[in-house]
């Protein structure tokens, strides 16, 4: 405390902005402006726990890289604008194009990162006042297949399962979900539940061996894209073994017979299903038996199911099994879509997808349109679905859509065939980008840039995977001229003369309007919907500020309560057996198995699977700022089976080019042992800001699911080839050489690079093709050292092509560069640790060029536990010292005791060392 008068720093409760788990956090900002974030013990999602990404949030709310004020690109250069001028430009630009080419010539591409209030205003503006449905979102890439599946089966996009249900289940089946890494806290809850109830079983269906499958009782390494065969097979098995709930089917569903016939036809025999899915028949049978005998079963799924050209069918194939057994609408049972983004659910609630209207009302239904237009008092209402994400950018490319406003997302990195997105934006007449970050691969194409408020500054609500609405609260002043997105949208509406319909001064007013719309016409005789926030109507600022995490529906006292049956909780969706289809029955959807769109051939013999890694999020605009998250996976990689590596001619740790017919990227080869034959995995996170050529989106087949429009991110035919370089290297520097991406002399010298933020330094991994030259001079140029008398250490072995240099300033390490013709460079761990030292120890200097301290034992190895920064070597030593379980390791080193997401790795290390001990 600086002086007695400073106020005690106060904890502000908010919601984590990463995955769809939606954990509560407490944020505290010190007088010095340093924010720390801890788990909120009161929040019903996480009860105080946080994963490593959440725990590192404080490191991401920094001014670095932020977009501070509106700007316009004039002759290639950005010029600062005032907000009014910028909004005039946006309003006039869109108006001009709408007037000239009609409302469908403009589009919005928004994001599951938006708050519900932002989403609501964007959706209202576009569908009610522009009169187009050309507003789509990056949620299209994430869970639109789940939405479509829900709508087909239930008539409304309803996730019928809660986290509590997950803990009540006897069997949890995780399909296409690396929950341990992507939803760590949810996974921890699951594991804890299994600890309490050893009878509970966990089955993981995933082509890859993952941190999640490591913890499973049964792992089905299914062939990519064959989920429908698998679930049709299960349905047929259940039928054959009399596990069907005929009474439920008759009372509450339709379409069973036709669906059953197709399942029997396509997957009536487990042996052929096992062959189609490349599974051990014994393992498949065991799974079916487990499912058959578990009354309380939850099938939870995420991107492995959704991101497919038959994603919607996969979802329905899963739901069919639950409907057939009546295992839905009951505690501990049901199909469970786990969403990837913090507010994908909120976006769905307000209708922020191009084929939705608002508040779970349908665009295709005239009565619904009338209802919404009436509520909004809007001059028009979109009457046909707009363009879905992939189509939207195709339409821009084709010159049909001429203006786009992109909010809080980075499509140049994240969309399939991403180079096409680049080309499309390059020729688009007007590109407006609202973002928190100044330099992204997408802002590079903006004509107008609008600074958005970031997490910690903005104020509103998000909804997590279990329909729980939580507040994101501001605890920091907005940086620069950053404003809420809803404000910018409303200002444009005012400029178009709709000020009366966009009168908002604060987020709670928007939330109230949204809540009222969910209740509007929500009656059996008009437009019955499960989504109902009637009980939250009328919240004033104070009430909104105090809003505790709340699962919907939230009925007003005057609304008829949803009747509960069988003692189920009132929030148990479908507990009354009533669904939201026209006949109020759940629908079985026949699902004929379809192979993925891309066929393997001699040129492209491998299947590309994409996904997340544990410590990064989306395109790293946020996690890329957090040193704590930098080292778990420091580089983009391609993981493949050793046999496929051999056939492709690539070696572990070397670089490889992965190519599809759409594009290619260059990444590090990893042979983790987690991949099946013919499959490769590349993470989605590395953008042009963090790597020279690692945007995997470029490769992804832009084929989409015909119902949901969700692209097939998990199945693109590719080939892998060596990327030959003359040298490998890395640099650590206090200077942020990568800030201007390719423009830095460091990365310009390299044919390939990636960079990542460390604690007080930027780490760049480099590789180059020009072997010759005086490395000493080259290194100085690369690191920007001009003073010939700089404190500069170097080591060289010119014939071997080995070079190392370290630049010290005032006795502290300032930068270093290590070069070798092979990727056999020393560990970065110790050198990195020196950046945190106020002064080098005398012994350190001698180790600098070695890359490790001369005295042994200080290098902890690669970080395994990011929460406590425990390295692999430290853990190995403890295992050798007798620790035989992750719990014992945790007791000794603390590793794995916070977020727990490294526990599978700890188990792996224990097993590995034990195996090594028994073989030597």
């Amino acid at each position: 405390m600086m002086d007695g008068s400073s106020p005690e720093p106060r904890d502000i409760a908010s919601t984590c902005p990463y995955c769809g788990t939606g954990c509560g956090v407490l944020a505290r900002t010190s007088a010095a402006g340093v924010t720390t974030v801890v788990g909120d013990p009161q929040h019903p999602t996480n009860f105080g726990r946080l994963c490593v990404k959440g725990a590192a949030l404080g490191e991401t709310v920094v001014p670095r890289g932020r977009l501070l004020h509106p700007a316009k690109r004039v002759a290639g250069a950005l010029q600062r604008l005032s907000w009014p001028a910028a909004l005039d430009e946006v309003a006039d630009g869109f108006r001009r194009i709408i007037d000239r080419d009609g409302p469908d010539a403009v589009a919005w591409y928004v994001s599951g990162q938006l708050l519900t209030e932002d989403y609501y205003v964007a959706n209202k503006l576009v569908k009610g006042f522009v009169g187009s449905a050309n507003i789509d979102t990056n949620s299209r890439l994430c869970m639109s297949s789940a939405v479509a599946g829900h709508k087909r089966a239930f008539g409304e996009d309803i996730v019928p399962v809660s986290y509590d249900d997950l803990e009540q289940a006897e069997l949890v089946v995780l399909v296409g979900s690396n929950t341990a890494w992507c939803h760590p806290i949810l996974f921890q809850r699951l594991l804890k539940a299994r600890e309490r109830n050893p009878a509970m079983k966990l089955v993981v269906i995933d082509p890859r061996r993952t941190a999640t499958s490591e913890m499973a009782d049964l792992h089905l390494p299914v062939r990519p894209g064959t989920d429908v065969w698998l679930f049709n097979g299960l349905l047929s098995y259940l039928h054959q073994h009399g596990v069907i709930d005929t009474a439920f089917i008759e009372a509450h569903t339709s379409g069973f017979a036709r669906t059953m016939a197709i399942a029997d036809n396509t997957a009536g025999d487990l042996r052929s299903v096992a062959a189609a899915c490349k599974l051990d028949p014994g393992v498949l049978t065991e799974f079916c038996r487990l499912f058959a005998r578990s009354e309380r079963v939850i099938t939870a799924f995420s991107m492995g199911v959704n991101q497919s050209s038959s994603g919607t069918d996969k979802v329905n194939a899963i739901i069919n099994c639950h409907l057939a057994t009546g295992r839905i609408g009951k505690s501990g049972a049901g199909p469970f879509s786990i969403t990837g983004q913090p507010n994908a659910m909120g976006g769905r609630e307000v209708g922020g997808l191009s084929n939705m209207l608002a508040a779970h009302l349908d665009l295709e239904v005239a009565a619904h349109r009338a209802l919404v237009q009436d509520f909004w008092q809007s001059p028009r209402i979109a009457d046909k679905p707009g363009l879905k994400a992939v189509d939207l950018f195709d339409a821009i490319d084709a010159g049909i859509v001429k203006a786009v406003w992109i909010m809080a997302t980075n499509p140049v990195v994240s969309l399939p065939d991403a180079d096409k997105v680049k080309r499309a934006l390059a020729k688009c007449e007007l590109v407006v980008v609202s973002d928190v970050i100044a330099d992204t691969d997408t802002t590079a194409f903006a004509h107008l840039l609008l600074p958005a408020q970031g997490w910690g500054e903005k104020d509103g609500t998000v909804t997590n995977s279990e329909r729980c609405i939580s507040r994101q609260r501001a605890f920091l002043p907005p940086i620069g001229e950053a404003r809420p997105d809803w404000w910018a949208l409303s200002e444009v509406a005012r400029r178009w003369g709709h000020g009366a319909q966009f009168p908002y001064d604060a987020a709670h007013q928007i939330f109230d309007e949204h809540a009222r719309l969910t209740r509007f016409g929500n009656r059996d005789d008009i437009a019955p919907r499960y989504l109902n926030l009637g009980g939250l109507v009328g919240l004033d600022q104070a009430g909104y500020d105090q809003l505790a995490p709340t699962r919907w529906p939230v009925l007003a006292g005057t609304d008829a309560p949803v009747p509960a049956t069988d003692g189920a909780a009132p929030l148990q969706a479908f507990a009354d057996g009533r669904y939201y289809t026209a006949d109020r029955r759940a629908r079985f959807v026949p699902t004929a198995p379809q192979a993925p769109a891309g066929r393997l051939d001699d040129d492209y013999p491998l299947v590309l699977n994409t996904g997340r890694v544990r410590d990064h999020w989306h395109t790293m605009t946020r996690t890329g700022l957090a040193p704590r998250l930098a080292t778990h996976v420091a580089e983009p990689f391609v993981d493949l089976h050793p046999q496929d590596a051999l056939l492709s001619g690539v070696r572990e740790h070397a670089l490889a080019r992965v190519s599809s017919v759409h594009g290619s990227c260059v990444v590090r080869v990893r042979l983790s042992g987690e991949m099946p034959r013919n499959s490769v995995f590349v993470p989605i996170h590395w953008s042009g800001q963090f790597a020279s050529d690692a945007r995997v989106g470029k490769l992804v087949n832009p084929v989409v699911d015909p119902v949901s429009g969700e692209p097939e991110f998990k199945h693109t035919p590719v080939r892998v080839e060596p990327f030959s370089v003359a040298w490998h290297g890395f640099a650590l520097s206090r200077d942020d050489h990568g800030a201007a991406a390719g423009a830095s002399p460091l990365t310009a010298a390299a044919a390939w690079w990636t960079r990542i933020t460390g604690d007080g330094y930027t780490r760049s991994e480099l590789a180059g093709r020009r072997p010759d030259g005086d490395w000493s001079a080259r290194a100085r140029a690369m690191l920007g050292v001009v003073d010939p008398d700089a404190d500069w250490l170097e080591y060289e072995d010119p014939t071997a092509g080995v070079f190392r240099a370290v630049h010290l300033v005032d006795g502290r390490i300032h930068a270093c560069l290590f070069i070798s013709p092979r990727p056999d460079l020393p560990s970065r761990a110790w050198l990195s640790s020196l950046f945190g030292k106020p002064q080098l120890d005398p012994g350190d200097r001698i180790g600098l060029l070695i890359g490790e301290p001369l005295a042994q034992g200080e290098d902890a190895g690669a970080t395994v536990c990011s929460c406590f920064g425990i390295g692999r070597k430290t853990i190995e030593a403890a295992i050798r010292g007798g620790c035989a379980t992750p719990a014992e390791l945790g007791a000794q080193l603390k590793c794995g005791t916070n977020c727990g997401s490294c526990v599978p790795e700890l188990k792996g290390l224990i097993a590995e060392l034990r195996a090594r001990q028994t073989t030597t």
């Binding site: 080591y795 060289e796 072995d797 014939t799 001369l854 042994q856």
Partner: protein
């Protein structure tokens, strides 16, 4: 009566050979030693510390007259041999004494090279070879101010450092552009020059001495470009020449020095052996101490009649004996088109290391600032150890290499 061994020369290699011989067979010969200097034997290498005032002459004497007496050796110090009559097997000393021999050991060493420029015989112009030169320099330091050392090699720098320590202003004149070019590569030489300049030494590089100026005593050194530098004392340290006049006169085969075989026997006369700086072995002439020790051991074995040792030449290592400056070099540190370098530079810590490799062998080493591992590299070089597997770690030192191997 015992056979007679006559030793011409009373320097380090002569007496080391005698010592080795006594170890093998103390009774074999009647030994007579002739020396030019009027002392017992002293360690010439330590003249620099004497000049620098860090040691006294008594400290560097290795064999006093009592030692000779104790071993029954007849010493004629200050009475050099001036002729060898191989037919009669007799040597003749300056004072006319004649002594017959059965075996003769020539260890006349070398003498400093004095550039024959005008004025080189003026008083105040000396070499740096023996204790007498040191005494002259110490005397000059007491009475004069300006010293010029001609020669920026090992000896010249040691002399210059000593004179500096004795309070003189010292300029080192060197014909090359880099100091100690026979022991150091240019980066190391730059570090050395900077360190010596910091101590107050001045350098005139690429300077060709034209004349030494003075009437009764030296007053200046003049260069070919006409410039001059004041000098009350000029130390010539531009190199040494093997002392071979005697051998030549005796009709022994002499090229650059007295040619010997692997047993240190002269090529011409099987009764005559030679060791030290005056010999040429397999085309090499050595000016450093380590080869002398090897030669002495071999030669002594043959003199003792135990013909089992062979001298195959030496790889040499140098340390500069200037207190506070650590410098080590050995072998072929210049290298050639087929050699490879490992280099480490840390000027901030005053450290420079360079290893020259050929194939997987170390053939040369230069170290400055941190020379602790010099002997280890030297050992790897001498034992021709294959360093292929160590290469990536080698230059980071023995402790690191061994910790990694463990």
């Amino acid at each position: 009566m015992k056979p007679r061994l006559v030793v011409i020369g009373n320097g380090m290699s002569a007496i080391r050979t005698v010592e080795e011989l006594l170890k093998l067979d103390g009774e074999r010969y009647q030994i007579t030693v002739f020396g030019a200097e009027p002392h017992g034997n002293y360690n010439r290498i330590l003249l620099s510390p004497v000049l620098a005032g860090e040691k006294h002459f008594e400290d560097i004497v290795t064999h006093d007259r009592a030692w000779y007496a104790r071993h029954g050796i007849l010493l004629y110090a200050g009475n050099p041999v001036i002729g060898i009559d191989r037919a009669r097997r007799v040597v003749t000393a300056l004072d006319g004494l004649e002594v017959a021999y059965d075996r003769l050991l020539i260890a006349t060493g070398s003498r400093p090279f004095i550039i024959p420029v005008p004025g080189h015989q003026l008083p105040g112009v000396i070499a740096f070879r023996d204790i007498h030169d040191v005494e002259t320099m110490l005397e000059a330091a007491r009475n004069h101010r300006h010293a010029v050392v001609i020669g920026g090699g090992l000896l010249g720098l040691e002399a210059a450092n000593g004179l500096l320590r004795q309070g003189m202003t010292v300029s080192v004149v060197h014909v090359m552009d880099s100091l100690m070019e026979r022991q150091l590569d240019k980066p190391a030489a730059r570090l050395l020059k900077a360190a010596l300049e910091k101590r107050g030494m001045r350098f005139l590089l690429e300077a060709n001495t034209a004349e030494i100026v003075g009437d009764h005593r030296v007053t200046a050194v003049r260069f070919k470009d006409g410039s001059e530098v004041a000098a009350d004392l000029v130390v010539m340290a531009v190199g040494i020449r093997p002392n071979i006049d005697l051998a030549k006169a005796a009709g022994l085969h002499v090229e650059r020095a007295i040619v010997v075989d692997d047993t240190l026997q002269t090529a011409t006369d099987p009764r005559i052996y030679a060791v030290g700086e005056c010999v040429q072995h397999r085309k090499n002439v050595y000016g450093l101490v380590a080869p002398l020790w090897d030669q002495a051991r071999v030669c002594a074995a043959h003199l003792a009649g135990l013909g089992h040792r062979r001298y195959r030449g030496s790889v040499t290592a140098t340390r500069l004996k200037v207190t506070g400056i650590d410098l080590y070099s050995a072998g072929d540190f210049i290298g050639g088109p087929d050699s490879e370098d490992l280099v480490l530079r840390d000027p901030g810590r005053g450290v420079y290391k360079r290893l020259v490799l050929k194939g997987n062998l170390i053939i040369g080493v230069v170290m400055y600032g941190d020379v602790a591992d010099g002997p280890w590299y030297f050992e790897l070089m001498q034992t021709r150890r294959d360093i292929g597997s160590l290469r990536q770690r080698l230059l980071f030192g023995r402790a690191y290499c061994e910790s990694q191997a463990a």
